[in-house]
Symmetry: C2
Subunit: 379 residues, 2 copies
């Protein structure tokens, strides 16, 4: 193959050894907790990563788009939970995927969606299986565990000849904004307890609730108990990033993803080193800034390392330009002459990876040992 010293920049790099360690650790943790791991592939969007992430578990995955569902189905993964609230207009595509062998679980918190779905099911002569989305504090999708509408949705699904009630699903997205391990533990417990409570209320009403699905990377890692939960859906743990590091759920050496860029200029008047990786190559996500003062759009490492140069970060981005600054004083012009390649640790792996169609896979070195594809877009 080639080497990171030669690939065209900007380039997305994935360290397979780190990926495998991250995945093995999560798989063991979930096995120890007696819970099925249904990794969320929205971060990696790659069949080769799915292969690593499902090892030791049942093989089902979570997806965030129907484009992912189609791609993974083509790669032989058929147990798919589409974990974004359904728009009923997407059911034509879902029905086609099911006809091709997908076993799909859909998500909603809306009776209007179920009514529309039932109409579509008749029209398409198809059956659809739903999870009810429960809000356990994330304030995104979902009905409260104690709400009346939870039971209404459950009954509608159970009584429909075409629709099925598969269980409940929650995502404690607010775990990304916790300021201590103890706070994440509490969010994890709220997530678990809320999902289990919703399931219990459905069961108490005589409704089936086989699946109790929860999880985010922080809660999967910090949860003290997963009692009553049947599956967890973490995703970003496969790669990790500065945001997760800042949250305290990984160490810097667990970050498997980086972007290789080339130094294209020194602007001494501005006190900045310019690289050919900007807002498109790194994303404009600033999640880690909530916790890390000088993370900017990424931390800057030498090409042959994934340890950042002390205090050196991407301070600002334009579409194709990144501007490197240093915490104290001017950036290290002498260490990073024009033409040098650097490696940027991303702020938020899901957003950074989304700009690329493939990964340059390395194994603890500069040699590119493989190229893995990704599936972007929605259809």
């Amino acid at each position: 193959m080639t080497s990171l010293t030669l690939v065209e920049t900007p380039a997305l790099v994935l360290d397979r050894g780190v990926l495998e360690r991250n995945c093995d650790r999560m798989a063991r943790r979930m096995t120890d907790a007696g819970v099925r791991l249904r990794p969320h592939l929205k971060t990696a969007k790659s069949a080769r990563v799915a292969e690593v992430a499902t090892r030791g578990h049942f093989g089902g995955i979570t997806v965030s788009t129907l484009a992912e569902a189609r791609y993974f189905l083509e790669q032989g993964i058929s147990d798919l939970t589409y974990a974004v609230g359904l728009a009923a207009g997407k059911l034509d595509v879902v029905a086609r995927l099911q006809a091709e062998g997908a076993r799909m679980k859909l998500l909603t918190d809306s009776l209007d969606t179920l009514v529309a779905a039932e109409g579509k099911a008749d029209e398409l002569d198809a059956d659809f299986s739903f999870l009810i989305e429960v809000d356990t504090g994330g304030l995104r999708g979902g009905v409260p565990p104690e709400s009346g509408v939870l039971l209404e949705l459950g009954r509608y699904l159970h009584e429909s000849p075409r629709l099925a009630l598969a269980g409940v699903l929650t995502h404690a997205g607010h775990s990304y904004h916790c300021h201590s391990p103890a706070e994440i533990e509490q969010v994890a417990e709220d997530e678990r307890a809320g999902a289990v409570r919703a399931a219990q209320r459905l069961r108490d009403a005589g409704l089936p609730c086989e699946i109790v699905s929860a999880g985010s990377t922080p809660t999967a890692i910090r949860a003290k108990s997963l009692e009553g939960v049947t599956e967890m859906r973490p995703g970003v743990y496969t790669f990790f990033d500065l945001d997760q590091m800042a949250l305290g759920v990984c160490a810097i050496e667990d970050i498997a993803l980086s972007v290789v860029a080339t130094v294209i200029g020194h602007n001494h008047a501005a006190g900045r080193i310019l690289i050919d990786a900007g807002g498109l190559a790194l994303s404009k996500d600033l999640s880690a800034a909530e916790f890390l003062e000088d993370a900017g759009y990424g931390l800057v490492c030498p090409l042959d390392a994934t340890r950042p140069l002390e205090g050196v970060y991407v301070d600002s981005v334009h579409q194709e330009h990144g501007l490197i600054a240093a915490k104290d004083g001017p950036p290290p012009y002498d260490k990073l002459p024009v033409g040098t390649r650097v490696r940027i640790l991303p702020n938020h792996a899901c957003m950074t990876a989304a700009a690329y169609n493939s990964y340059h896979v390395v194994e603890d070195g500069l040699e590119v040992v493989d190229t893995w594809d990704r599936i972007n877009g929605w259809y």
Copy 2:
């Protein structure tokens, strides 16, 4: 074709009538100023848009990646300025494009790059033509107009058997952060004067400087004089966006780009309406927030209009979820029931468009009259 009521969401929509009006206006303005228009296609990345944007001018364009260069060359556009500081490692690709008929201008502010380029030129048996990047206040790439290194770069290029000095180029990116038309006018004059001064110094030193290239959308629109400038390179004016509107260089009806999304839930506890367009579909860019208090990640319009619902905006985004809020009180649940489609006016068109491979082209209505492709990525 189809209709915006039926396309899979999220979907990128381009209004051709508005695009044509924006392009015609800029083309006339540049003609009136006696300046060549070399539109920057980094926003649109589309051959069909290039066709509209080059009308009435000489046909040359500006690109931000070599993937764009290859794509536009294949579409018959051969006069290409690659307006990102060159990494010499990219010259193999440049040489191939030139061999296939591209007439390329490259950019640098670094002697190290020129030395490397000369080595590459020998190795590849190719000639390369450069513009010297001048910093007229943007504090990104470029050498100061009064600097000694400007003349060093000019001499090196002029004396090299393989390299050529084509002129100077500047981009007043700081025009995006001006707080009044008068301030933009001043930045435009600084941009003009700096570029012209750099050209004059090269000519005074006996060096050729045919091209004096400047421009951003705000400065192209607000400049009182373009005396001495030979070409302008605005880009985002083709589509415009909330950021440009907030800067006062376009009206809301000049925004040609929007994203169609579907309402997937109502979270009354959170006071939010959920749509299936999140951080990937809209981008995480918040440029307009510098000027507009409640622009968030985009303003929300009914599907059949590009006038926003008063005070209704995308307040936050997750990877595939957007959360709609209203300025005063709860969002309009009754106007936007689950399943409704909305149109989002983007914060920053360049970043939003980058997530899509094509445009659904409309003509002042819901009917999709055409599909235009885009070229993303870098290679």
